[in-house]
């Protein structure tokens, strides 16, 4: 087996609702290579978000092993997982979840407050992240002064400012129109191809999934199909 960035071995995840034991993931085995762009698709309740949360260390499997890079997440307690996430994972959410009273630059700076870093160094990283997403001229704008697409770009900048290995995106274009969605997906592709980020994206949208090099189809917690797409990115096509 080649050095894998993400590995799940016989992962089961069950949730308890009253007396009912509801399986979210049922014996999942999965390997995601470093530097790949993977989309996860499936109907509601198929286990997509659960899979994302396990990879991101937000939740623990009921049984099985989750490994990201050199780290076996099962070995970490909650504090360890929190610290691991701050260094190795960037999250992008459907609703952006920016702090409305902070500027774009300040929102991007938030994850850096967890590290001992000079303010000049923080400033430099924030500027770089905003340049990557193309919003260097919007640094002092508050979220209510930005469009939906710009807000998501700020959220992406926040996700990459700590230079994580893995970016996890949960329906990143779910709240955007088609044109803006394309821009965001182009940006994610850029992060993958130019910066070597491993990207795992949950989506309902086949057009969004077409940007990924690999699409995993889940249903009832089981991996139904695993499609590899050689011509994954519209960037490659153009």
């Amino acid at each position: 087996m080649s050095a894998a960035d993400i590995e799940l071995i016989d992962v089961h995840k069950h949730y308890r609702k009253g007396r009912l034991d509801i399986p979210a993931l049922d014996g999942l085995d999965l390997t995601i290579d470093a530097g790949s762009f993977v989309a996860i698709m499936g109907p509601s309740g198929s286990g997509k978000s659960t899979l994302l949360h396990l990879i991101g260390g937000l939740d623990a499997p009921t049984s099985g092993v989750v490994r990201v890079g050199e780290t076996r997440l099962n070995d970490l307690d909650e504090q360890g997982l929190t610290e691991w996430r701050s260094r190795h994972v960037g999250f992008i959410f459907q609703m952006y979840h920016l702090v409305p009273v902070l500027t774009a630059a300040q929102n991007v700076e938030l994850p850096l407050l967890l590290f001992r870093m000079r303010s000049a160094e923080r400033r430099r990283r924030v500027e770089t992240a905003l340049q990557v997403v193309g919003l260097e001229d919007r640094m002092d704008h508050r979220p209510n002064q930005l469009s939906g697409g710009q807000e998501q770009r700020v959220a992406i900048a926040r996700a990459i400012v700590t230079d994580p290995q893995v970016i996890l995106a949960d329906e990143p274009t779910g709240d955007l129109d088609a044109k803006t969605s394309q821009e965001i997906l182009h940006l994610l592709s850029l992060l993958n191809t130019d910066f070597g980020k491993t990207i795992v994206m949950v989506t309902h949208d086949p057009r969004a999934a077409s940007f990924a090099g690999r699409v995993l189809h889940l249903d009832k917690g089981v991996l139904e199909r695993d499609e590899r797409n050689a011509e994954s990115s519209p960037l490659a096509a153009s």
């Binding site: 937000l58 929190t82 610290e83 409305p100 009273v101 938030l110 407050l113 926040r158 329906e171």
Partner: protein, 389 residues
């Protein structure tokens, strides 16, 4: 940027809510400072009295009963060597009013010979004592009274008594007392009053109270018992108290003001805590998902708890400062003076009041924020993110 900055900015999310909550803190905390300053002033006055080692001897039934002058000599005879008892000063209530005023001033006629000894804290110089002895109409006046009536040393003024036979007497100021505890008082010579009463054919002479200056605390304790024992089973049975007990009873006769102030302050503080708690809970409920995102991007639960608590304390303290600072500065620059303030004369800002108010604000902030902070600490990121989706 720091986390403290983030907390401060969070207060701007809902400017109206923050402003209303801040005002809810500001007004009561400003009043709290004034109230505690008043209580501190009363305590300071009490401490000052304690140092003077004076006993108050008055009729057991009522202070208004006149005690015969001869009782002074009997009290003095308890300690002819003057080892426990320095001097005795008889005082009689005059209750003077300025012309065209209904306000009764605390005016007392005091024994000419022993007043400067028993009331050494008035701080009369040798010249002033000389003037007190030579001038029958001599009056020693508190600074509030002097200010209100625009009196200076040498001023002449008249007062009419509020009790029978409603004498009108003229006085001359020989000293203005600078002490806060004496600010609303006036003393004059009792022989002057007694002469005027005789001229008015008013038969009753004597004193409402004898002040006994003691040499020390043990002497006070023994003399207190001996004086009451001396006059027990007589028509003029006495109650002898130390000065603070006497003043406390006197003040409490009009109601337990310090106790009432403290009780009202506590009630107000409790109400503020409820308001603050409601505000912080509302703010937390609105931001559950945002806090979940903070946890997702790597903020530890302990830090999230600290952020929620910190925001609550910041709101409480900044709101309180809006009230505490103006009141404190106001009282520091221009202390409230007035005869209505009774034994303390002037209301000055008390550092205890300021520190107390701000400490109270911190405690209220912590109390209001602890429950939402614990909920934030326990927040399951996954569940909150699912709810957001």
């Amino acid at each position: 940027m720091t986390l403290t900055y983030v907390l401060a900015q969070n207060l701007r999310r809902s400017p109206l809510r923050t402003t209303l909550t801040a005002v809810a803190f500001a007004l009561p905390m400003g009043i709290f400072v004034a109230a505690i300053s008043l209580v501190a002033g009363l305590r300071e006055a009490a401490l000052a009295n304690e140092r003077e080692l004076r006993l108050a001897v008055h009729h057991r039934i009522t202070l208004t009963n006149i005690l015969p002058e001869g009782m002074r000599r009997k009290i003095e005879a308890l300690d002819p060597q003057r080892e426990r008892l320095t001097a005795v000063c008889g005082m009689r209530w005059f209750g003077g009013r300025r012309p065209n005023s209904q306000n009764t001033l605390t005016t007392l006629a005091a024994d000419m010979d022993t007043f400067p000894v028993v009331y050494g804290d008035v701080g009369m110089t040798a010249e002033e004592i000389d003037a007190w002895r030579k001038e029958r109409r001599a009056a020693v006046v508190g600074m509030n009274l002097a200010e209100e009536a625009r009196l200076a040393v040498g001023s002449r003024f008249s007062l009419e008594s509020s009790i029978p036979p409603y004498l009108e007497l003229e006085f001359m100021v020989i000293k203005i007392m600078p002490q806060d505890s004496k600010a609303s008082l006036m003393y004059f010579r009792r022989d002057y009053l007694e002469d005027a009463l005789r001229e008015a054919d008013f038969p009753l002479s004597g004193c409402n109270i004898f002040w006994v200056k003691c040499t020390g605390a043990p002497a006070m304790a023994t003399l207190q018992r001996e004086i009451d024992a001396l006059f027990a089973n007589s028509p003029n049975e006495t109650v002898t108290q130390d000065e603070n007990a006497f003043i406390s009873n006197f003040v409490q006769a009009t109601g337990n003001i310090p106790g009432l102030i403290q009780m009202i302050s506590l009630v107000v503080v409790f109400i503020i805590a409820l308001i603050a708690g409601n505000t912080v809970m509302m703010s937390f409920r609105e931001r559950v998902r945002e806090l979940a995102v903070f946890k997702a991007i790597g903020f530890p639960s302990g830090r999230i708890l600290g952020m929620v608590l910190g925001e609550s304390v910041l709101l409480a303290v900044s709101g309180s400062l809006l009230g505490v600072v103006p009141v404190s500065l106001g009282l520091a620059i221009h202390p409230v003076k007035g005869l209505f303030l009774g034994p303390i004369g002037g209301l000055k800002v008390s550092p205890i009041g300021v520190v107390g108010a701000l400490s109270m604000a911190v405690l209220i902030g912590l109390a209001a924020g602890i429950w939402p902070a614990l909920q934030a600490w326990r927040l399951r990121t996954v569940d909150a993110l699912r709810a957001a989706a």
